[in-house]
């Protein structure tokens, strides 16, 4: 039996280093004006609610959970897991509106707001995953979340995944014909539940895009 659960919680503390990385600063601290703008925007985004729907699913042999073949990258991510969490989460149109408003005021403010909101939805998802980790229970460990479009996990999984989670109805998440999620600051993902602490590489080191401009 699998329940669909709703989750709402403020984004919470945003990692400023992530904001600066999205702004193309790598590991550097940008200039004081950028920092000041980013600070004020972080405060606004940290207060936004992240709305999410999640469920817990047993993982069938071959990692086939009705969403098509997992592919090599996801299989590597899920090796050893017998269960997964699936979730969809969004900052809603409030974030899109904020970015567009800032962009109308100045382009610099626009790109900073976009970076802050990107870091914000990730921060919110980190909190959601911490919550899921508690729910997973003692002796269970979460793998890094894995989204359609990562590696060879096809982006076409997006539609069945969102359908399974009733994400359109419950969160108002829609897909464009090109499978972009709208509102834009949204995340859908699969999170492996492992019986052992994983050696899975996280973040940039775990990624195959070696020439990514955001890699640090």
């Amino acid at each position: 039996m699998t329940e669909l659960h709703r989750y709402t919680s403020p984004v919470g503390q945003i990692d400023r280093r992530e904001v600066y990385r999205y702004l193309g600063c790598g590991r550097n601290q940008p200039d004081p004006r950028t920092v000041e703008l980013a600070e004020s925007l972080c405060k606004q985004v940290e207060a936004l609610p992240l709305e999410a729907v999640w469920c817990r699913l047993p993982l069938a042999d071959g990692y086939d959970f009705g969403l098509g073949k997992a592919g090599r990258s996801l299989t590597a991510n899920l090796t050893g897991c017998r269960e997964t969490f699936l979730f969809a989460a969004t900052l809603g149109l409030a974030a899109d509106r904020l970015i567009r408003r800032e962009e109308a005021l100045s382009e610099a403010r626009g790109v900073i707001a976009d970076a802050v909101a990107s870091a914000g939805v990730e921060a919110g998802c980190n909190r959601l995953c911490a919550h899921l980790s508690e729910i997973a229970g003692a002796g269970k460990y979460l793998r890094p979340r894995f989204s359609p479009g990562y590696g060879d996990f096809p982006i076409t999984v997006q539609q069945p995944l969102l359908d399974l989670l009733s994400a359109r109805k419950l969160l108002g998440l829609t897909l464009t014909d090109s499978l972009l999620m709208l509102p834009t600051k949204s995340v859908s993902a699969i999170v492996g539940i492992s019986p052992t602490p994983s050696g899975c590489r996280r973040g940039c080191e775990g990624c195959e895009s070696l020439d990514c401009p955001y890699r640090i």
Binding site: L37, E103, S106, L164, L182
Partner: protein, 800 residues
């Protein structure tokens, strides 16, 4: 008895869930439920019959997802067949239920189309209207008793569906929206905002359905009941969904469901039913328990309220500020922006006024040489993408007015009518259809009366005429007109007296303030004092400049003095904000660092927009030639910043701040150029490709190139390949710059390149965007791949 009559006198019962019943009957996950109208008609008839027998008055035909996006013309079943099938199933069930001896109705069920509307999504508002019309036209032809628009979680899409229904038929329209636990639609609208919008559109009943269980609806429902004059609909789920295997199940029992529904009926619900997970057993219990109650009487709330896509704004004593800045009268920069279709200037005014404290925005784009209806449509759409304030549609052109009212995502202010019969006859029918709170000016065929009594008489005439169109007095705000005191020193007194009389009669007033000081020095002193006097006489709203510190001070002080500002918190906050600006270090001090550069170059390097403009202006005035200013000052400064960006000692936000500063200098240069010259190097067409709606990256490239003196033709985002090609040819573009951020939109980029090579072979093609690599760019046959904005600038320069 008709449905409209029944709504006035008693309860009406909807049926329960259809989708969840179909799942129980074996509908596989992923199959469109509407297919079953044709493949399993007996099952559908059975479900309707069970609901009628359980006590439903209204069966919602199985047409929730019946639209042309889900049932395209080339598909297995035609849209018409699916809808016909659905309604015929409901009719068959009704024919089998004549023994029930009560009137049974069939609703055409209209659900969301599944796409997000522009400007946040890709679906055009008018395309959404057409999509809904297609469905509703078929439904009405086959024969239904009402239109049930339901499970809408976007206020704008809700409006599109309602307009479609109104334009197709005269049947009753019931509208229910999906609220989350914080009582908001996914797109942010509150219950108060939805009631304002839907009552403006004159639907027959409003309410909520789906997503929440009955207990959770009990908490939110009173907010609807407090503000709505219309009958209210409540259609909860049987609790929250959970998956069992691949089935979705719900837990609230018929008894618990009915308990909550009794509470909801006592709180004012008139139309009650069940959504996902409810069964005939739920509806039977619901009817049994609720039918014996006496419905709460309907009451007219008579609220003066406007709304945006997120919230409602009432005119209830606390004075309101309407930002006046988007109005070309006397503003040469805005005029130029309108002529050049420079929306970014207009959007900055919108965002800036909101930041300064405006609570609604006046939108006036009237200029003799532009297509006003078209511009109104564009500005209203785009402003709603960046700003969530209610709008005031301000035009004397009824066609532009209609476009504005139609596209407004909420209940707008309508600016304006006056005592002239012809004007009222042109505008009131629009308000009847689209809703709105109307500003009525106290002038008529004979001009502006010199006395307060004369103006009050016109106000009464406007109210009487509005009433004949079914527009209540609470939906009229009178503007008693402020005339210039330099011409007539009793002018302000007459205006103030008119406000006083109207206020005493309970009539709302609004005033365009600044005209009063025309022709005088120190206008702000006159304006803000006049504002204070008008407020004291009962003014409900002012159309004003929110950037004026004097006016804002008056406003905040007035609210504090009149007990509208709890703990004077807002006054304190605003005063602190003002104080801090005064003590901020001066820009000149900040500029003083890089000594070797000119003042102008320094300001550009520092990204100081205002200082850059001032310095550029000074240099031009002291004789520097415009072209020299570009080539010897602006471009070298930008190059300096660009080089540091390339060396990674300075980052994107600073690069952009410098670019924006340079743009301010450019604007000065343009103004100083002899007519006919523009200093442009050549034309570049830029666009985000079809299917992609990311435009920040593209905008960065556009801004930088603009600053290097290229003429940029920005086609926006989600642009079809042929549109890009046509523009390249029409504009004689040297470069077409294309942006794509998703792997799924790369095919659109490839197609665009293919068409360009065919039809505009002389054009160079530059591509960029997060998913692209040099490899990809080569494979697609692009001439250049730009990893960042500066690289693209360097490429453009290399073609000179």
């Amino acid at each position: 008895m008709t449905i409209r009559e029944k709504l006035q006198t008693g309860f009406l019962f909807y049926d329960g869930g259809m989708g969840s019943m179909l799942q129980s009957a074996g509908l596989p996950a992923g199959e469109l439920p509407e297919r079953w109208n044709l493949t399993h008609a007996d099952v559908i008839v059975g479900i309707h019959k069970a609901y009628y027998e359980a006590g439903a008055d209204i069966a919602c035909a199985n047409t929730f997802g019946a639209n042309a996006l889900k049932f395209p013309a080339e598909g297995e079943f035609s849209l018409r067949a699916v809808i016909e099938g659905a309604i015929n199933c409901a009719k068959a069930a009704r024919a089998q239920c004549t023994h029930l001896g009560r009137p049974l109705y069939i609703a055409l069920d209209v659900g969301p189309c599944g796409k997000l509307l522009k400007p946040f999504g890709t679906l055009d508002f008018e395309d959404a209207v057409s999509l809904f019309k297609q469905t509703i036209e078929i439904g009405v032809q086959v024969g239904v008793d009402l239109i049930a628009i339901e499970t809408m979680n976007d206020s704008y899409e809700t409006k599109a569906a309602v307009l479609a229904a109104k334009e197709v038929c005269d049947l009753p329209i019931f509208v229910t929206n999906v609220y989350d636990q914080s009582a908001k639609l996914m797109t942010g609208a509150t219950p108060e905002a939805m009631v304002a919008l839907l009552e403006g559109l004159s639907v027959d009943a409003v309410g909520m359905n789906c997503s929440l269980g009955p207990k959770q609806m009990e908490e939110i429902f009173p907010r609807l009941a407090d503000v709505a004059s219309l009958p209210l609909v409540v259609v909860p789920n049987a609790g929250l969904p959970r998956l069992e295997g691949d089935r979705t199940v719900y837990d609230v029992t018929p008894d618990d469901f009915a308990d909550s529904m009794v509470t909801l009926a006592k709180a004012g619900a008139r139309v009650l039913g069940g959504c996902c997970g409810t069964t005939p057993a739920h509806i039977a219990k619901l009817r049994e328990r609720v039918a014996e109650l006496i419905p709460v009487p309907l009451t007219e709330k008579r609220r003066t309220v406007i709304s945006s896509g997120t919230h409602a704004l009432t005119f209830d004593g606390d004075p309101r500020l309407i930002g006046e800045r988007i109005n070309p009268t006397g503003k040469s920069k805005l005029k130029a922006a309108l002529r050049e279709k420079n929306l970014s200037y207009i959007l900055r005014e919108a965002a800036g006024q909101q930041e300064a404290g405006a609570q609604a925005l006046d939108i006036n784009v009237g200029l003799p040489e532009i297509d006003e209806p078209e511009m109104m449509a564009e500005v209203v759409t785009e402003v709603q993408g960046i700003c969530d304030l209610p709008l005031q549609i301000d035009t004397s052109d009824p066609v532009a007015m209609e476009r504005g009212l139609r596209l407004c995502n909420g209940q707008p202010l309508v600016n304006s009518v006056n005592g002239k019969t012809a004007v009222m006859d042109a505008i009131f029918p629009l308000v009847q259809k689209y809703g709105g709170v109307v500003i009525g000016l106290t002038l008529d065929e004979d001009g502006i009366p010199a006395t307060a009594e004369g103006r009050v008489a016109i106000a009464h005439r406007i109210l009487d005429t509005a009433a004949r169109y079914g527009i209540g007095a609470h939906r009229i705000i009178i503007d008693p007109l402020a005339l210039t005191i330099s011409a007539d020193q009793s002018a302000a007194l007459v205006t103030l007296e008119t406000i006083r009389i109207l206020h005493a009669e309970g009539i709302r007033t609004s005033l365009g303030l600044s005209n009063v000081s025309f022709g005088l020095p120190n206008r702000e002193a006159i304006n803000s004092t006049f504002f204070a006097l008008a407020l004291e006489n009962g003014l409900s709203a002012a159309i004003m400049n929110p950037y004026s510190a004097g006016m804002m001070n008056t406003y905040h002080a007035f609210r504090a003095l009149h007990g509208f500002d709890t703990g004077c918190m807002e006054f304190i906050e605003k005063s602190v904000a003002l104080g801090s600006t005064a003590t901020a270090p001066t820009a000149a001090a900040a500029v003083a660092e890089e000594g070797s550069l000119s003042l102008l170059q320094n300001a550009i390097c520092k990204g100081l927009r205002d200082d850059t403009a001032t310095a550029a202006k000074a240099m031009l005035e002291s004789g520097t030639a415009p072209l020299a200013l570009i080539n010897e000052e602006i471009v070298p400064a930008l190059d300096r910043v660009g080089k540091r960006f390339e060396e990674k000692t300075l980052f994107l936000p600073q690069l952009l701040m410098s670019a924006e500063a340079a743009k301010a200098a450019f604007d000065e240069v343009k103004a100083a150029m002899p007519a006919g010259e523009n200093g442009n190097k050549y034309t570049i067409v830029i666009a985000t490709v079809h299917g992609d709606i990311h435009d920040i990256g593209k905008n960065i490239v556009r801004t930088l190139l603009e600053n290097y003196g290229y003429r940029m033709v920005d086609l926006g985002r989600d642009v079809p390949p042929q549109t890009i090609v046509d523009a390249a040819i029409r504009e004689n573009a040297r470069i077409v710059a294309l942006s794509a951020l998703m792997t799924t939109t790369i095919p659109a980029m490839e197609e665009t390149i293919r068409l360009l090579r065919e039809q505009a072979p002389d054009c160079k093609i530059a591509v960029g965007g997060a998913v692209l690599t040099q490899d990809y760019a080569d494979k697609m046959g692009a001439d250049f791949y730009g990893r960042d904005a500066m690289e693209t600038v360097r490429y453009a320069e290399s073609l000179l």
